[in-house]
């Protein structure tokens, strides 16, 4: 569910960092996640397949996101998660659930 107001900047920053960390956890590549330098834009356009993320890797990514996104956002439903093909799709799905 989209919110009527744009989410607060600190919420966006926390969720961006969470998405980056979860994608890094699910990919066998080292995506050089760092709290100080991480900007999700670095990997936003990548397809999950280009990051060598398997279906089980995607399950790991969504588990990490859904377990840590609250209270900033609601967990992403399975049917939405399976449609995400790029990191940008993942970010949009997470942001759509901002509380």
């Amino acid at each position: 569910m989209a919110t009527a107001h744009p989410p607060a900047a600190d919420v966006v920053a926390r969720l961006d960092a969470l998405v980056y960390y979860a994608v890094d956890k699910a990919s066998p590549y080292s995506l050089a996640y760092s709290v100080s330098t991480a900007t999700l834009d670095k990997i936003l356009k990548f397809k999950l397949a280009e990051l060598a993320i398997t279906p089980q890797g995607a399950s790991i990514m969504w588990l990490w996101i859904n377990a840590h996104c609250q209270p900033d956002a609601k967990p992403v439903a399975a049917d939405v998660a399976t449609k995400c093909k790029t990191v940008e799709d993942v970010r949009k799905a997470v942001m759509a659930g901002v509380a």
Partner: protein, 317 residues
């Protein structure tokens, strides 16, 4: 997702069944006319109803194979701590597996209750990708089993079956060097498998075939997608080839009554080809081809010692 669809009927009392895809609610309103409203089916249903039925006619004899499972799954619960994240859910379901093949009939029906979870630890992201699944499943029902009489003759009898299986399922994808490149799909290699323990009890219809078996199982599999898991155009076709090699051993710890302790091994080699681009052709049928060779036995799937080569053509939509 819940936008109502409307159907107006001019005369009250006219019973018309309006079936929309998965009607979730039908609310009649009496007044100037009868209105039926129906919401779309919920996208996330807690139940699943996979079923298949096939009839094969060979040499004047027909055989019927049916697999029906109605399953209800609870809402997934997430947990987290500084070192891990996990999720889990309960399921309860009824099942029917029927095969009328004369030489290997199957007639399993009953109920099953299970809990399954997935755990991910917070090890360094620079290393391999891994997870640990865990599941406990209790099933109770009736099964047709083959028994051997004292004179050596064999027959099929209906037994009451209770089975408890607790399993761990590991997943490991080795780390890749370098970094990802836009437009480049890397080969995929990952391993899966793990240990399990089981208790399998059969009772009723005589002593033969009755008794309890306890044991342990270890299963390991290696999976390779040499061109990644994204369909790659080749010779006018887009396809995803994958290769899987697996080995499994089951060793009974104890056996009672007429059942005997056994060690069962099962080896398999599978080559899968998925054609097309599923994500770009939603609603279209996507063919797949699987060639599998397997040798061995499996107590938990009811497979007797055998060697099989199977060629399967599938359609996904």
């Amino acid at each position: 997702m819940t936008a109502p669809r409307m159907r107006s009927l001019p005369h009250p009392g006219r019973a018309v069944a309006v079936v929309l895809a998965g009607v979730a609610a039908a609310v009649p309103v009496w007044g100037a006319g009868l209105s039926l409203t129906a919401a779309d089916a919920p996208v996330n249903t807690p139940w699943s109803e996979p079923a298949n039925l096939s009839v094969t006619r060979e040499a004047g004899t027909s055989t019927v194979t049916a697999d029906l499972v109605l399953n209800y799954q609870s809402e997934t619960r997430y947990r987290k701590s500084a070192g891990f994240a996990s999720k889990g859910s309960y399921s309860v379901g009824v099942y029917l597996h029927r095969d009328t093949t004369a030489t290997a009939p199957r007639n399993d029906r009953g109920v099953a209750v299970s809990y399954a979870g997935l755990l991910v630890s917070d090890f360094s992201n620079a290393g391999p990708v891994g997870s640990l699944g865990y599941a406990v499943k209790l099933g109770a029902g009736k099964s047709v089993v083959e028994v051997e009489a004292a004179d050596g003759s064999r027959s099929w009898v209906d037994k009451t079956k209770i089975r408890l299986v607790a399993s761990l399922g590991g997943y490991l994808q080795p780390a890749l060097g370098g970094g990802p490149t836009p437009g480049v799909i890397a080969p995929i290699l990952f391993f899966d498998g793990g240990p399990a323990v089981y208790v399998d009890q059969l009772r009723g219809q005589g002593i033969q075939g009755s008794g309890r078996v306890t044991g342990g199982q270890l299963k390991l599999g290696a999976n390779l997608a040499p061109m990644g898991l994204e369909p790659v155009p080749m010779a006018g076709l887009a396809m995803v080839p994958t290769l899987r090699v697996a080995a499994q051993v089951q060793r009974d710890f104890s056996a009672s009554d007429s059942r005997t302790r056994q060690t069962r091994k099962l080896y398999s080699l599978e080559l899968n080809l998925l054609f097309g681009r599923p994500e770009e052709e939603a609603g279209k049928l996507v063919p797949s081809l699987q060639l599998a060779r397997s040798v061995g036995a499996d107590l938990l799937t009811g497979r007797a010692e055998s060697a099989k080569t199977e060629l399967s053509l599938g359609l996904t939509f």
